[in-house]
Amino acid sequence: MLPLASILFEVVGKGLPAISLSFLTRPTGNVTDPSSGIGNAIEGTLILIGVTCLIAVPIGLFAGIYLAEFGDNKFGRTIRFLNDVLAEFPSIVIGILAFSVVVIAIGHFSAIAGAVALSIIMLPIVTRTTEESIKLVPSSIRDASMALGIRRWRTSLSVVLVTAKDGVITGIMLSIARISGETAPLLLTVLGSGFFFSGLDQPIDALPLRIFTDYKNSNYPSALAQGWGAALVLIMLVLGLNLGVRLLTRGRSSFARARA
């Protein structure tokens, strides 16, 4: 499709010249300095992804397990519906939420606020994919496990979930791809910075945020070039995760791809 081709072409074309080892590893500092790099943005994105997963994956897994194992009742249906509603929240509203809760509490912008915002975005996706993956496990496996005397909770965790793990991991990877590109909630929660990681309660930079700041400063040619380079890195990350997921699920059912 034409826009995709154009996007890829432009980003690669304009971004590639900017990429070099120093570009990838040096901090931004003063953005008009031609020697600045996006090392801290990359580090920031990785840290945010890590903390977000720590928060969202356990909650999402357990919520998905609940919906799949115990969720045939009215409560379950409500949760499922609200889960889909949450998945469609405008990301900037989630940013406002994280701001009001975390930034106000700590007193200034911080990485943990960004992680909270991103985990709210990630949670519904993980819940949905986990539930669907578990539902696909044939009941014969569950029955066999119970027949052997394995307790209910152990069955769910060690037998059913392990069988469903491909779908679950697919969902997690796709949601990571989604949140690494999210800018709006980060604008309201982490502020961005020119320096490397200095603590979870301090502002932090991230790839999409860096791109946005470069846009704001795009009168300076070095900032503009940096923006294209950052865009290239980001799009490689996102598309790489997506393509990786496609490759992993090749030959399997298509539900996992369609769900996120």
Partner: protein, 337 residues
């Protein structure tokens, strides 16, 4: 499903077990703990939605108290302390106009793609093209914005807006000298962004139409197009409608791409009177002004007020869409066979 007492695997009667069995109030097992903990975590979703609503309302109270309904109908946006005046009407209109453009342009394209994929393409083409569309959906919106700002808008300016201005520049909706960063461009980028969503859901819905519908239409002599129109589209209508509404919901909530190409006017200058004017949407205002608004100020409260309005918009649209898509996808299996 919870198991009954007999069905639970028998636990060895250790001494502790025997004592626990004797105390009915303390009878629990790790199974119960498991069930309870998963229930609690699932309920966190309700918690998040509730907290969001409460915080948005609480945060907006200062500005709503100050301006009452004037907040929703006013057009000023002055945040200088002392002579503040806030009205969200231009931004609401901006959101509506850009989303309308997105739907008007994006939906026909999406439906065309969906019909092509569902009805006419050989399965290899269908798979390949579906993958491409999924990749298009995965591109982060800020990259759309960046590309839109540095590439797309020049296309629009040179190939779309310049000709229109020279021929139809007198029409009120085309007034102004376009330089590419305006409501039209924002609407068009939104259209590109909703195509993957709308087309893939529509395609799924159309493929879920049982083939008996198509066969019946063929058997009474319908042409290819008539089969699609009556047999497939009629049946899938509410699902496709739901897909469109879902796309609309996405367009309404989209922030970054719009912020970067819409030109960012403010206050009454942001009223969308011409497609070539700079404008602003609810989301773009929040994105632009939030980090500078002082904590606890009326300005911040006004921004949260916009957030509340946007939240309600998106909520209504998305709940509506969910219900519609749900209905069709549920009917899939047990229909007229």
């Amino acid at each position: 499903m919870s198991l009954s007492e007999e069905a639970r695997p028998q636990q060895a009667k250790t001494p502790i077990r025997k004592r626990l069995d004797a105390l009915p109030a303390l009878r629990f097992s790790i199974d119960d703990l498991f069930e309870t903990s998963t229930t609690i975590l699932a309920a966190s979703i309700i918690l998040i939605i509730t907290v969001t609503s409460v915080l948005l309302i609480r945060g907006s109270i200062p500005v709503l108290e100050g301006f009452k309904t004037g907040f929703f109908t006013g057009t000023n946006w002055i945040s200088v302390a002392g002579s503040e005046s806030y009205g969200v009407l231009p931004y609401v209109l901006g959101t509506l106009v850009t989303s309308a453009i997105a739907v008007a342009v994006g939906v026909p394209l999406s439906l065309g793609i969906a019909i092509f994929l569902a009805e006419m393409a050989p399965w290899s083409v269908r798979n390949a093209l579906s993958r491409v569309i999924e990749l298009l959906a995965a591109v982060p919106s800020i990259i759309y914005g960046f590309w839109g700002l540095f590439v797309f808008r020049f296309w629009i300016r040179d190939y779309l807006e310049a000709p229109i201005t020279s021929y139809a520049g007198a029409f009120p909706v085309f007034q102004g000298t376009p330089f590419g960063l305006d409501i039209l461009t924002a609407g068009l980028i939104l259209a590109i962004m909703i195509i993957p969503t709308v087309s893939s859901i529509s395609k799924d819905v159309m493929m879920a139409v049982p083939s008996s519908q198509r066969e019946a239409a063929y058997s009474i002599g319908a042409t290819r197009w008539e089969v699609v129109r009556t047999g497939v589209l009629g049946y899938a209508r509410s699902g496709i409608f739901g897909a469109i509404i879902l796309g609309l919901g996405r367009a309404v909530g989209e922030t970054m791409a719009v912020t970067m190409v819409i030109g960012n006017a403010s206050g009454s200058a942001a009223l969308p009177t011409s497609l070539f004017k700079q404008g602003a949407t609810m989301a773009s205002v929040i994105a632009n002004e939030f980090s500078e608004a002082e904590s606890g100020s009326l300005h911040l409260s006004a921004l949260i007020g916009i957030g509340l309005t946007l939240f309600l918009f998106a909520l209504v649209i998305n709940v509506f869409a969910q219900v519609m898509v749900w209905r069709v996808l549920k009917v899939r299996g047990g229909s007229v066979e």
